[in-house]
């Protein structure tokens, strides 16, 4: 028992415990307001979720990666099924009351299947990529991973939950990269998405198409692949406008608000303006723990979930923000190290995928609070209140912990 404990990856445990504590403190503070909000006692519920999560973490860390690998297709199938069910009977919550991202049983919202689906997609992708002897070399090789990610991606996008959908894409690219896919192939894979974004400016799109032609001539993929990439890009240029119209009004306005938040300071722009005001007024050392006036007076929207980071920024200032970012960076670095020293490709890919998922969440969430990225309703790992995501993070850390333990046991890493 003692020897088992000695082989535990202490930096990972340390960073995780530090982040959980920091996050719980921020969540407690988010509930300390001068006007009654639902966030007042939410930190107590979060403690329950942390207990559940830690239990799951310990349990998963006791499971052999081989068993996980065996169970992966079933887990994947189950989450896709859950996503389908959610799409049919799901409910909305909070600011996104119009979407169907919650699964409710008897009126009680039990969770967001999308969060668990992210983990399932990582495991499934790792299984498929690890089963191959070599890295995907053609676009045709990328078709199966595309399907593995594409199904849950489409289901989440239909909810609609743009933020989570982006995470699926990020996971796909991160894991393809870790599996050794050539960068040129990744660019070609990403080119339709880039084409879609640039299609809103005819000049930019034209330049992009020209550049793509050059790249295709240089990299020389198979002819039909090159044609398919070109066709996809041209198609994106054509469907861009219908696609824009297909976006829900709140998604459209969020994107527009990202470009210019002062357009509608009371409604859509409210979130980002109040978030920046809270962060900016925090200054170097902040207003003091639980003393942030923006938060106290409920100017911050969703201060216990999506906008919890501005609470940190307002109350603990630049110092608190740097501390949080440092802890996040440490977590990712530890995971990268574990991925590098994993005993087998499947474990390595799992860990790298998990690191990529957490990284995307952190960047998306923190980036939107300072208006670096558009607002997407995506939680911050270990900080935001939310059972499903905390459970997903705990399971993920549990898997990583087990991989680290395995690599030490088998001598891939020093004890």
């Amino acid at each position: 028992m003692l020897s088992r404990l000695r082989r535990i990856d202490k930096p990972l445990v340390g960073v995780t415990v530090a982040l959980l504590s920091y996050g719980l403190a921020a969540l407690y503070s988010a509930g300390q307001t001068d006007v009654p909000t639902i966030a007042a006692t939410i930190w107590q519920k979060q403690i329950v979720w942390i207990a559940v999560g830690l239990t799951a973490l310990v349990l998963v860390s006791r499971v052999s990666p081989r068993l996980v690998e065996w169970a992966t297709p079933y887990a994947y199938g189950a989450t896709v099924l859950l996503l389908l069910v959610t799409l049919v009977v799901g409910t909305g919550a909070g600011t996104a009351a119009g979407s169907r991202s919650w699964l409710a049983i008897g009126g009680l919202r039990v969770g967001q299947p999308a969060e668990l689906a992210k983990l399932a997609v990582i495991l499934m992708l790792a299984r498929w990529l690890a089963a191959r002897r070599e890295a995907p070399a053609t676009l045709r090789d990328l078709l199966p991973p595309g399907v593995i990610v594409g199904v849950p991606f489409a289901l989440v996008l239909l909810q609609p939950d743009l933020g989570s959908a982006v995470v699926f894409i990020a996971i796909l690219f991160a894991m393809l990269f870790w599996a050794g896919t050539k960068p040129s192939l990744l660019v070609l894979l990403a080119s339709p998405a880039i084409g879609l974004i640039l299609a809103f400016s005819t000049v930019a799109w034209g330049i992009w198409i020209a550049l793509l032609c050059g790249l295709l001539l240089w990299w020389r993929p198979y002819v039909w692949e090159g044609l398919a990439v070109m066709a996809a890009n041209v198609a994106m240029g054509i469907v861009a406008l219908p696609f824009w119209k297909a976006l829900a009004p709140y998604q459209q306005s969020r994107l527009l608000t990202f470009l210019n938040p002062e357009v509608d300071p009371r409604k859509t722009g409210w979130h980002i303006i109040q978030s920046k005001v809270a962060i900016g007024s925090g200054g170097f050392l902040g207003k003091g723990f639980t003393h942030g006036p923006q938060k106290r007076l409920a100017f911050l929207p969703a201060q216990h979930t999506d906008f919890i980071f501005p609470v940190v920024g307002e109350e603990l200032g630049f110092v608190g923000v740097l501390a949080a970012l440092a802890l996040f960076a440490a977590l990712i670095l530890v995971m990268l190290r574990i991925a590098r020293r994993a005993p087998d490709p499947y474990s390595s890919l799992c860990v790298f995928g998990i690191a990529g998922m957490l990284f995307t969440h952190i960047i998306e969430n923190v980036g939107m609070t300072v208006k670096l990225l558009p607002i997407t309703g995506i939680p911050l790992p270990f900080f935001s209140y939310g059972g499903s995501f905390l459970l997903a993070c705990s399971l993920a850390v549990g898997i990583v912990l087990r991989v680290a333990w395995e690599s030490r046991r088998s001598g891939y890493a020093e004890s």
């Binding site: 001068d34 002897r133 109040q274 900016g280 740097l322 990268l336 590098r340 490709p345």
Partner: protein, 638 residues
Amino acid sequence: MNPYHPHLLDRRLGVARGVLWATMGVLAVAFFRTQILEHGKYQLQSETNRLRPIPLPAPRGVILDRNGRVLAENVPGYTVSLLPAEEVTLRRILGRIAPIVRLDSAGIDRVLVRYRRAPYLPALVLADAPFDMVSALEERRLLFPGLLIQPEPKRYYPDSSLAAHLIGYVGEATETERAQRRFAPVRLGGLVGKDGLERQYDDSLRGGDGVRFIEVSALGHVVREAGAAPTLKPVPGTPLHTALDLDLQRYIGEIFPAGQRGALLALNPNTGEVLALYSAPAFNPNAFVGGVNPEYWRRLNESETHPLLNRAIQARYPPGSTWKLAVAAMALKRGVVTFRSRMPIPCRGGLAYGNRYFRCWEPAGHGALTLSEAIAQSCDVYFYQLGLKLGLTSLLEDASQWGLRARTGIDLPGETASEFPSGIAYYDRAYGPRRWTSAVTLNLAIGQGENAQTLVDMVRLYQMLASDGRSRSPYVVHPAATGDVGADMELTAPQLAGLRQAMINVVQQGTARSAGRVGAMSIAGKTGSAQNPHGPAHGWFIGFAPADKPEIVVGAIVEHAQHGSGVAPLVARVIARYLGADTTVARTIRLALPTDTAPHARDILPGAPADTASVRDTVPLDTVPSDTTHAVTPPPDR
């Protein structure tokens, strides 16, 4: 090659670490910019987000009489306002609050108009809420988010309308006023003096508004009333010490003939201090506090009696016989006559001049009189000849020099200038060159013709006679810095004494003889009656006492009082009261003479061409209306 070869993994690990550091670096820079570089901007935004400035009105300075008694003070009052919010929200809350504060839809619109002008300030719902309404609102406070009930000092005039014209009243500053430099510091909805001393000395009475901050939540609910940010205390206005004698003013209010229109002004002849200023009818200045009731305002403005008009300084009347002292003084100064001089033609009830017959008010005639006697008897025939002897040019010149065609510069707003021809050119303009004769001099000499004086101008003339012959600008608080201060009659002491003696004779034997002596004290004065097209003549009396060493000069005009003799006892009683003499004697004064104003001149030959005659000697009376000078002020903004 195995894609998971350690060497390859290390390369990818390097790339992944690079991406991590780069993105974390971008985030750190973004937070550095927001939290360190732009901290000031966001700090300010955070405070404007949550703090709402609430003006703390400064209490206006009290206005005191010469003995420190209160003319205008502040009493506690309450204002009801709503914190700024979206207009829709405001409208909804107003709809809920309306039944309690008794606000009709027009009132709601007024509140919204006011809100739109300053969307960042609390919208004033009720400027002066009675206490029961305040407690009714407090009970239902939870129903009205953003409700703000503030104790605010409220102006109160203990003597109500008694000195309304002198003290004035206050009201909310209008847009036009706030555009002026003088009222630039006044906040929107702030109070400024609208008339009288409140207006004249508004700068010092006003004080400086303070401001406090209350903290509101994102939904506009008041979270914290105090301590959110430092409060800027209001600076109270400076007390105003006036020269007014409240006792005297109250006494005048009691004895001024009820229902009559007119004015009374009492000065200290040696300093120019205004001891009392009364104008009737008056208005209630307390009715303007917290916004005047539109019905009351309409009544004040449409009333034929013009209660807002300050008849002591804003109305012009033909001076009538009170003017004769001015002519006598001019003649003495220029050495044209002495007190013993008689005119060539004795009074036989009239004087023929040109083809017109100028009558004396006494049809029986006064006979041959000296100047002293002529003043006492107010003989028109004597003054016709004196005016001719003095000459039109001299008359016009001296009147100008003594300030009888200008404002006195009294420290009250809206003083009207007296009307008097500026020179010969005036007549050339009015009638055409050579189309008038020196017959105009005859009318000017007895206070008729192109002459309309304000009460304050005439009282100042008598002030000069009552003192050393030098004028002192009348003032309530401070002497005016500008104006014709120190005009000198250039009369010798014996000449002044002689004029005073003649005026004592007026009271003792002349036109006002029963005004007589009051106790042991002698009153000097002169009656007058001014014909006017609106009805019976206006009555004048201007007097001072003690005659040998005057301490008070009092002038009064009562509209349509028939003649000045009825006004004399009023003035006599005021003087007696001020000097502490027995006023019961003064009350019994009766006056014997019906009128001392000359009737219109008659043509000697009825068939003679009336070419220029009609314009030569009669004033176009419409140019001297008593009550058309009323400057209509716009209704105060509620």
